[in-house]
Amino acid sequence: MNWLDSTVHRALVEAVLVGALGGVVGVFVVARRLPFFTMALTHATFPGIVVAALLGVNIYLGGGLFGLLVVAAVLAFGRGRGQDFTTATGIALSGGFALGVVLVSSQDGFTKDLAAYTVGDVLAVGTGDLVATVSVAAGVLLVLALVGKELLLAAFDPVGAAALGLPTVLLDFALLAVVEVTVVATVPALGTILAVALIVGPAATARLLTDRFAPLFPLAAGIGVACALAGVWVSTQWNVATGASIALFVGLVFGAVFLGTAVRGRAGRAAAVRA
């Protein structure tokens, strides 16, 4: 019998993968202040997944393609005159989610399917899901390793990046696409609503613990993995929803670290610098 034949084993592997992936990608999401965009992306990917499920094609393909469309639309709209990235994002969030709900509600078994898509179930992931997550993680790490320094510059100083002649639109698209495929890879485990927790939470927590850029990646990945494993463990012990348990741990760890660092006066000093 194969070790991966066990539901719990597969869930543990998936938890480690999405925890690490979400943490690493989250560093850019948090530094670039994209949590709201990520939130919108998770919701806008939803109809793509539903359509794929209805048509019986690969849901990663459906969610991924639809998400890329949304990324392109948000970029195009956000760059238009007098428009704001946040406005475009808000429209994508509500519009995407609404379309997904309409599509699901047109089918039988509405409530059960909606729950599966929106909060996920890491205990239901198959070997195919694991392969998909591994591929996404490998691709994302490759992109970050290759153009990490350019992404850093474009995040910190977009005009400076353009002044150097870097293709900033392409870099923006690369980053948003990385976020998008991460969201799609995380959805089966955590669902469209909770996926954002593993992408934003661990990186935001790591940011409280260090001011340096490079250590953020291992720190966020470690926190993500720990929360994901803890969530799976709690959920199998007490038979509660896995995705929600993971998201709860992410929130608890962030809260604890925030309080801890605030007590140590770190937050106070940061505020003094900002003032």
């Binding site: 350019e150 100083d157 150097l164 340096r212």
Partner: protein, 253 residues
């Protein structure tokens, strides 16, 4: 001594965002080792002028040549220094990392900084008087120090032309002095400098030439010839007062 080569040529140039012209009829020449001050009220188009020299805003009529090339093709030899307060002070990036960004063009895609790059970064920080702050987070420095870090980033790029957008705004005296020193040493090495500022005293002190701007050009030439009460009054639309003959105070920027 040989004639200094022109590094910036403006020939009846107009620049525009889409259909909206921002600056019209720009004329003038800047040579190696010269500094030109861009002076004009807020909204006059000073930042747009700088972006046009970077090729980020299109020239719709006439011609702009930077280092003998169209602006977008000269970027490798041009360094841009933004206003420090336009950058996120909470961003988790060290002073050293910010200065290293000036080397990215030379390092190239997919490659990592070499020992030479690190040496250039250390040298650039030395030149702006911040050698001891390399490991600090960028946002923990004062506004003036952050401005000096951004100048160090430009120095590390070894530019032949330096573009600075309002570098003296809200900068303390120590940092102002450090910025002026560093700009002076770049000029001495033959770099051309374009700097936008509200400060007429700095224009006198640091710049050989002045370009008066308010949507169009109200003067371009040697500082002493151009910074006259009449021209300033014309540029600022009457919001300039004359003090004791040759001194001028601008009452509204």
């Amino acid at each position: 001594m040989s004639e200094r080569a022109p590094t910036l040529v403006l020939d009846r140039a107009s620049v525009a965002y889409g259909d909206v012209p921002v600056l019209e009829e720009l004329n003038g020449v800047v040579h190696e080792g010269e500094a030109v001050a861009l002076i004009g009220p807020n909204g006059a188009g000073k930042s747009t002028f700088i972006k046009a020299l970077l090729g980020l805003v299109p020239v719709v009529r006439g011609r702009i040549e930077v280092l003998g090339r169209p602006p977008a093709q000269a970027r490798r030899d041009v360094a841009y220094v933004p206003q420090a307060d336009t950058l996120d002070p909470d961003f988790p990036v060290s002073v050293e990392q910010v200065v290293m960004m000036g080397r990215y063009r030379r390092i190239g895609w997919l490659r990592r900084p070499s020992a030479d790059d690190r040496a250039e970064v250390a040298d650039a920080l030395e030149r702006v008087g911040l050698a001891g702050r390399a490991r600090d987070r960028f946002g923990t420095l004062s506004g003036g120090q952050r401005q000096r870090v951004l100048l160090a980033r430009a120095i590390a790029a070894k530019p032949r032309m330096l573009l600075l957008d309002e570098p003296f705004n809200g900068v303390d005296a120590v940092s102002q002095h450090a910025l002026l020193e560093a700009i002076g040493s770049l000029k001495a090495q033959g770099a051309s400098v374009v700097v936008s500022t509200h400060d007429l005293a700095i224009a006198h002190l640091a710049c050989d030439e002045v370009c008066l701007l308010n949507r169009s050009q109200f003067g371009f030439g040697p500082t002493g010839d151009v910074l006259t009460p009449e021209r300033l009054r014309a540029t600022y639309g009457g919001h300039a007062l004359e003090l004791r003959g040759d001194r001028v105070i601008v009452t509204q920027t």
